[in-house]
Amino acid sequence: MADNTAVSKALQVLERQLNRPLMAALQVCARCGVCAEACHYYVADGELEHVPAYRAEELRKVYRRKHDFFGKHLPNWVNAQDLDEATLEKMAEMAFSECTLCRRCTFNCPMGVDTPLMMRALRAMATASGKAPEILEMLADAAIEKGKDPAMFRDLFVAQVAEMEKELQALVGDPNARITVEREGARVLYVALAGAHTILPPAAIFWAAKEDWTLSIYEAANYGVFLGDTARAKTIASRIIDEAKALKVQEVIVAECGHACASLVWDAPIWFQEQFPFRVRSLVEVMAEYVQQGRLPLDPSANPEAITYHDSCNLARTSGIYREPRVILNAVTTNLREMTPNGLENYCCGGGGGLVALPEYDDKRMKAGKPKVDQIRKTGAEIVVAACENCRLQLGDLNAHYSMNVQITALADLVVKAMRLPKSVAVPLPNAAAVAVGE
C-alpha cells in the first residue's frame, strides 16, 4: 500500500534529491563552528540554533537514521532520529524562515560544507509534503497560470508599455525612442520584473547604448526556486526560454534581481539538460560593459551623495557579479563608500530566499537584517544601492523599521540620473522600493 503521509512524502523527496553534492554535505562537518559568525542570523542574536552547522544537523539526524550503519541499528549512539510530522514542520519553518540560502557559511567553511543545499532539500521536502508557506506556492502557481494563457494579459501589457514608451521619449528627449514587445529578431530579450521601475530606466540605458532590444511579456522572478520545487521552477523558467527561442534572440538580459538571474544562468541549463541558443546575462553585467565600451554619456557629478552598494548574495556569491557593480558605480557616482565586508563576503540583507514575500516571518526578517543595518550605518551613506528586487524590498523595510533615513535605489536608476541626455529633461528619482512594505 502506498504510504502517502506527509512524512513519507518528505522522505521520498529526500531520497530523490540525494546526489553526490547533497550526500557530501550531509556526511561532512568538522564541527569547528567557523560558520557561526558567517551567518547573519547568528550575528544578529548569537543563538545556538542559528549556527549553520546546527541547522544542518537537524537534517543529518534524519539522513543518518536511513543511511548510516549505526544510525540504522543504534540510532541513539549517533544521534540519529526518525522523522515525525512535528519535526518535519519545525524543520520546514527553519528552512523557510531561518535561512536565506545566502551561501556565506559555505564560503567561510574550511570544508566547503554546503548548508544551503541541505536547506534547499528541506524546502523541497516541505513543499512535497504540503508544509511550505502557502504564499510562495500561490505566487509560483500564479506565474505558471500566466504562462499558460498569455492572451489573458498580453494586450493590457502592450497598452501599458505604450504609456511607458511616452515616458521614455520625454525622459531621453527623443520622440523616436521605442519599447517594443516580443519583437522577433531583436538581438536582446530583456526580462523585467513587474512594474515600470524595472522597465523604464533600463529602456533609457538601452536607448543610449543603441542596443537592439525587445521586452519580454513575462517577469523574471521565479518563486518555484524558493520552494525548492524544480518542477514548478522549470515551468516558470520555460516561459522565458520558449519566448527567447521563438523570437530568435542572441541574448537574454535579466533585470536587476539576484535569484532571477542565478536561476536562469546556473539552474536552468541543469533543469533542462540543454545549452540554450542564446546567452543569459544580468543587466548589471551589460551595463558595466556599456560603461567600459564608452557607450553611455555619463557625468558622475550627477550623483554626489554618499552612496553604498549592497551585494546581492545571488549576484555576488552565486554568480560572481561583484566587480561589475563597482565599474558602474565608479562611473556614475563620486562618493562611493564600501561596507565592510563586501563583495563575495558581504552579509545577506535578511530578505533572500523568498522571505520578503512571507509576512508571517516579518519579525524574524527584521531581526536578521540588523547586521546589515549596522553595516550600512557605519558607511554614513545617504543612498543604498542594490541590484536585486528582493534586497531592495528588504532594505526598504529595514529603512522604515530601524529609521535609517536612507534612500534605496537600483543601479540603473543611478546610471540614468548620471546620463547626459540631449534635452536635459528632469529625471525623477525612481520609486523602486522606496516604499516600506511590511507592517
Binding site: A142, E145, K146, F157, Q160, A194, G195, A357
Partner: protein, 80 residues
C-alpha cells in the same frame, strides 16, 4: 467610471511593488467570509496581469479590474 459594486472591504495597495499587492490581497481575502467582496487599489501596473492569474489559481472570482489614471482598481469576490 464609478464601480457599480459596493465592496465589503477596501484594501490600499498603493506604493507596493510586486509581489506585495498579491501577497496582501491573498491575506485579506483569507479573512473574508465566502461571498464577500474586496476592492484593491494599487499603483504597480504588474497587478493587471498578476491579479487575474492569482484569481484563477486561488479559485476566487475577479469581478472587475481596470486602470483609473495612475491607479489600478479591482474587485474580488471570495468563493467558498
Amino acid at each position: 467610471m464609478a464601480d457599480p459594486i459596493k465592496p465589503d472591504q477596501i484594501l490600499d495597495l498603493k506604493g507596493l511593488l510586486c509581489p506585495m499587492p498579491v501577497v496582501k490581497l491573498s491575506m485579506a481575502v483569507k479573512k473574508l467570509q465566502a461571498g464577500q467582496t474586496i476592492e484593491g487599489i494599487a499603483t504597480d501596473p504588474g497587478v493587471m496581469a498578476d491579479i487575474p492569474a492569482w484569481a484563477r489559481t486561488s479559485g476566487n472570482e475577479l469581478l472587475s479590474i481596470e486602470q483609473q489614471g495612475k491607479e489600478y482598481h479591482f474587485i474580488v469576490k471570495k468563493t467558498a
